[in-house]
């Protein structure tokens, strides 16, 4: 084999499907051969055997959390609509009672907002933390 510089040697080893035997190589080529073998060797460390199961479990839990949150939002929206419809119906059928209901309008509006906030913090922050702790141990 003719003398090659580092660049040529690296290109040569890159394109060699089978690394040549050491006897036919000079000192630099032998070192590159050892280096390429070491670089191609997979590290001993790896992920735990149940890694894929953990990922799937986490995705399922996140999907469930997201669905729960959507359900909560829809329920609250329906509650607000129901209150609005009730107010409107009351104002049409019995205008005298309307003002007494309007006194509680902020309480009625605040209820679903507080409920959404509790659900959000419970699911996004607390349960997520517990889940991570449980599954990543």
């Amino acid at each position: 084999m003719k003398e090659m510089n580092d660049d040529e040697l690296q290109q040569w080893f890159e394109h060699k499907p089978q690394l040549p035997e050491n006897d036919s190589l000079d000192k630099d080529a032998k070192t590159y051969r050892t280096l390429f073998e070491a670089l191609d060797k997979e590290p001993e460390k790896g992920l735990p055997y149940d890694f894929s199961t953990k990922v799937v479990r986490r995705i399922q839990a996140e999907t469930k959390r997201s669905n729960d949150l959507k359900f909560t939002l829809i329920a609250c929206a329906l509650f607000i609509v129901a209150i609005a419809v009730a107010c409107f119906a009351l104002s049409v059928s019995n205008p005298a009672q309307e003002s007494s209901l309007l006194k509680f309008k902020w309480v009625l509006l605040l209820l679903p907002i507080v409920f959404i906030a509790i659900q959000y913090f419970d699911q996004k922050l607390i349960r997520e933390k517990i889940f991570r702790h449980k599954h990543n141990g």
Binding site: Q10, L35, E37, E42, I59
Partner: protein
């Protein structure tokens, strides 16, 4: 061999078993990239999980313009880079612009022990290299990506990828030369 189109369409239909097989297929690829870049065994598993969650969330945007492995490797690379930036594990200023002047740290007793095994010794040296060099070495040698695919994953031009790869290997070869000489003596 995994049929990418079939698996992707099954995952998009909500088949979790299909996603589990996808994770099994690519977990080693992801782990090599994350492990080499982050250098923290405890954080590596969490980051690998984050990568697959991102893959699951954005799989509908995968348009088969590249191999699925290239697309997943890009997500892994960007996640690892974000982690390093967030926790400021490595500052760019820690590395010289001229890699030829790069010095590995002195051998600790632990490193001296690993010297008994050439592959482990090379692994220790790789972990001391700057992030970009570790990335191209890992993607090229362990993940067997082409120069063009590495360009797609990292966003570095093909010439830069080649240059980093060549310089990193030359540096490792010089260090290995000394080690092999010591071993013979």
């Amino acid at each position: 061999m995994l049929d990418e189109k079939e698996v992707v369409s099954r995952v998009l239909r909500g088949d979790v078993r299909a996603f589990e097989s996808l994770v099994k297929q690519y977990e080693r690829l992801i782990f090599y990239v994350i492990h080499r870049l982050v250098k923290d065994d405890h954080a590596a598993e969490d980051i690998c999980q984050e990568v697959f969650i991102k893959v699951h969330k954005s799989l509908e945007r995968f348009n088969f313009q590249s191999r699925l492995s290239t697309w997943i490797a890009r997500i892994a690379y960007l996640t690892a880079i974000n982690y390093l930036r967030k926790y400021n594990r490595e500052k760019a200023s820690e590395y010289p612009d001229d890699i030829e002047n790069y010095h590995f740290t002195a051998d600790s007793p632990e490193q001296l022990l690993t010297k008994k095994d050439t592959a482990n010794y090379v692994e220790q040296l790789i972990l001391q290299l700057p992030e970009k060099y570790r990335t191209v070495l890992t993607l090229f040698h362990l993940n067997e990506f082409s120069y063009l695919e590495i360009e797609e994953i990292t966003g570095m031009p093909e010439g830069t990828v080649k240059n980093y790869l060549f310089r990193a290997r030359k540096l490792l070869k010089e260090k290995l030369e000394v080690y092999l000489k010591d071993e013979v003596l």
